[in-house]
């Protein structure tokens, strides 16, 4: 839902980031307001997951330029855990398995960290059990998964459901979901997408990273962005995704080439 007077939740300006001195993000700009759903698409390796991890604060990536404001606050100055506590959520493309740590305890500690930040009281094990059982229904997940170690031995689809369960518990203001649809069967996709719709409200925003229209059939995006070579190359409405489904990414190459040559020209001009 687009409302031009809605508060800006996330403002990314000319963000640049490298991994091991290799530039990956080469100037990403994006503004997300409350109530909006954004989709980011683009070829494998174009930098979508890198963008999501830089926003969440992964230590392997070094920010080399630009800025990110989260509700007006400098997001990049915060530790990853602080970003999560104030309401940023990243649903991982590849959720991590943590042997020996019970899923239930993990969810409780995480939920309480967020609640503490919001000034709500922490939940004891009993109160939390009630809450988690209620939220399990958002993704129709079997409670048996609570007793297992975090993601350990979960199938690809089960891991993705577990991510959305975490989102349902943490109630983020900005949720970045990195290919949450990949690995889900047809029914699971409908359930998980339904869960995301259920959690979306006028006060929060969602950034969906996806390759496929089938997710966007269920979750209608307000904006679709195409990422290529570390930039957002084009932004449109939901029809842009349909167009991509038709025509693929061939047009991207020409456009990238043009961009890089103009920036090369600009550098030459500056030097000369």
């Amino acid at each position: 839902m687009i409302r031009s007077d809605a508060p800006v939740l996330l403002e990314i300006r000319d963000l640049r980031a490298s991994v091991e001195d290799q530039p990956i993000l080469k100037g990403v700009s994006l503004t997300i307001r409350a109530g909006e759903i954004h989709a980011v698409m683009g070829r494998n390796g174009s930098g979508k997951s890198t963008l999501s991890k830089v926003l969440a604060g992964h230590p392997a990536y070094r920010v080399t330029g630009g800025s990110v404001l989260y509700r007006g606050e400098d997001l990049l100055a915060l530790q990853p855990e602080q970003r999560a506590r104030i309401g940023l959520f990243l649903g991982f493309q590849y959720p991590i398995e943590i042997p020996g740590v019970s899923n239930l305890e993990f969810l409780r500690v995480a939920t309480n960290a967020r609640r503490q930040e919001q000034g709500s009281e922490e939940l004891d094990t009993f109160a939390f059990e009630d809450l988690v059982r209620e939220r399990l229904q958002v993704v129709q997940m079997d409670p048996a998964f609570l007793d297992r170690s975090v993601n350990e031995g979960f199938s690809g689809g089960e891991k993705k459901r577990n991510e959305i369960l975490q989102m349902a518990l943490l109630e983020p203001l900005v949720a970045i979901l990195d290919e949450t649809d990949s690995g889900l069967d047809i029914d699971a996709l409908r359930i998980v997408a339904g869960g995301v719709n259920q959690l979306a409200s006028a006060d929060n925003a969602t950034l969906l990273i996806t390759h496929y229209q089938r997710l966007l059939d269920v979750i209608t995006p307000d904006y679709v962005h195409v990422m290529a070579a570390g930039r957002i190359l084009r932004t449109g409405g939901k029809e842009l995704a349909l167009e991509l489904e038709e025509s693929g990414y061939d047009w991207v190459d020409a456009e990238i080439e043009r961009l890089e040559s103009t920036s090369a020209q600009r550098i030459t001009a500056e030097v000369g």
Binding site: A84, G100, F106
Partner: protein
């Protein structure tokens, strides 16, 4: 160059500090009162005469400095008479029989044993004591000789059926100093079943030496939890352990001889000792038995923890499932050596051994070595060893859910430990094995 006075040099050439320590100790150990033990003591002392402490020149002690032993006063454990006083100890749970071991008093005095459990009398004991050691070929190894020289009594039990009571053997030397020898024998008759929890605790400059022989008859099952809880680590007490006062030592030699169809499960968790050396050794006498080993050790400060396990398949169709885990922090050293011996007659052996170690500090050191001797050709032997640091991606995943870095690290370490601790007999919970291992509980 530093000039060394000639006199001193000559003295040190004649005896080593280790020789002196051993000689001093042997000179003051009182003779055992029973003739059975006195004769054994005699033999062990003769074998040790002129010997020294284990040295790193010996293959079995290559990575393990036994010097911590020399810092223990060379006399038998001196402790107040009320060492066995259970006042400060957590009460044993229902259906747990606690026997307190102090090496002097009879742990069975005034105890009525549950059905299926009885004391072996001297006549029955004579041919059985030492038999597993000799089947295993370890009767002349250093830790066994040391134990033989100092242990003056033996706790020997026969298990004749499935025992529903958990047997807890507890030895807490508290602040006492000196050397304590404990000798244990368990004979599980065919089809018998026992859950055993062995707990060792110490705070003073003491060495607890244990030799435990277990014989598992056909179809017998033994589940054995072994907790070694040294003094808990003070926070920030890095690298200073043992400098003010010698830290306690635990030497534990276990030999289990398994008949066909028997099952042995050994779950050990040790931490907090200046030096701990575990030697779980298993002989599947005619193969076709199942052995499950789970070990967890943690070192910090200048502690040394060493597990030397050995499993011998003397017949076909045996199975081994072994996981050993280590956590090394501070300037601690962790050693794991896992021997698996599969001779020609041990066809269709199915053995798996996995060693996983976490290095938590740049000054800590981990030496881990599988030692597979496989002669039989139709066998499955899987083994793997990893030494790693805490995974950045695991930490980040937890942090990205609002969990602070320090707490995330603790969660990961607890998870690492839980994978072993979860298998301990339920009766172990009163000893808070996880909190103890993580150094989160007050000193025992």
């Amino acid at each position: 160059m530093v000039a060394i006075p000639v006199g001193e040099l000559r003295v040190s050439a004649r005896t080593t500090p280790g020789q002196d320590w051993l000689a001093d100790l042997l000179a003051c150990v009182p003779e055992a009162s029973s003739s059975l033990m006195a004769a054994r003591q005699q033999r062990a002392r003769q074998a040790l005469a002129g010997e020294s402490l284990p040295s790193r020149r010996q293959e079995a002690w290559r990575f393990t400095d036994a010097a911590a032993l020399a810092a223990i006063p060379a006399h038998p454990l001196t402790a107040p008479d009320d060492l066995a006083s259970a006042a400060a100890l957590p009460p044993a749970q229902a259906a747990v029989l606690r026997l307190v071991l102090d090496g002097r008093t009879d742990p069975l005095a005034g105890v009525s044993l549950p059905e299926g459990l009885e004391r072996l009398d001297a006549g029955a004991l004579e041919p059985l004591l030492g038999q597993a050691l000799s089947d295993n070929g370890s009767e002349a190894s250093w830790p066994v000789l040391l134990n033989g020289a100092v242990a003056s009594q033996v706790l020997a039990l026969r298990v004749s059926q499935a025992v529903s009571t958990v047997l807890e053997l507890l030895c807490d030397t508290a602040e006492a100093t000196g050397v304590l020898g404990l000798r244990l024998l368990l004979v599980l008759e065919p089809g018998a079943k026992l859950e055993l929890l062995e707990v060792h605790r110490a705070r003073g400059a003491s060495c607890t030496s244990v030799v435990l022989e277990a014989q598992l008859g056909r179809g017998a099952r033994l589940r054995h939890g072994l907790l070694g809880q040294g003094p808990a680590q003070q926070a920030g007490d890095d690298g200073e352990i043992g400098s003010a006062q010698a830290a306690p030592v635990l030497l534990h030699h276990l030999v289990a001889v398994q008949e066909a169809g028997s099952e042995l499960e050994l779950i050990s968790a040790v931490s907090g000792w200046g030096l701990v050396r575990l030697e779980p050794q298993v002989v599947q006498r005619s193969g076709a038995a199942f052995t499950r080993l789970r070990g967890l050790q943690r070192v910090d400060g200048r502690q040394v923890a060493d597990t030397h396990s050995r499993v011998l398949f003397a017949g076909p169709d045996g199975r081994l499932d072994q996981v050993h885990k280590a956590l090394a922090d501070g300037a601690g050293r962790s050693v794991f050596n896992g021997a698996v011996i599969v001779p020609r007659q041990a066809q269709r052996t199915d053995a798996s051994q996995l060693s996983r170690s976490l290095l938590l500090s740049d000054r800590a050191r981990i030496d881990t070595k599988p030692e597979l001797e496989i002669v039989a050709d139709d066998v499955r032997c899987a083994h793997g060893a990893t030494v790693s640091r805490l995974q950045q991606d695991e930490l980040f995943y937890l942090q990205s859910r609002g969990i602070a870095a320090g707490q995330a690290q603790r969660l990961l370490l607890r998870g690492f430990c839980e994978e072993v601790l979860a298998d301990l007999p339920a009766a172990a919970s009163v000893w808070q094995p996880l909190a103890n291992l993580m150094g989160e509980s007050p000193a025992p």
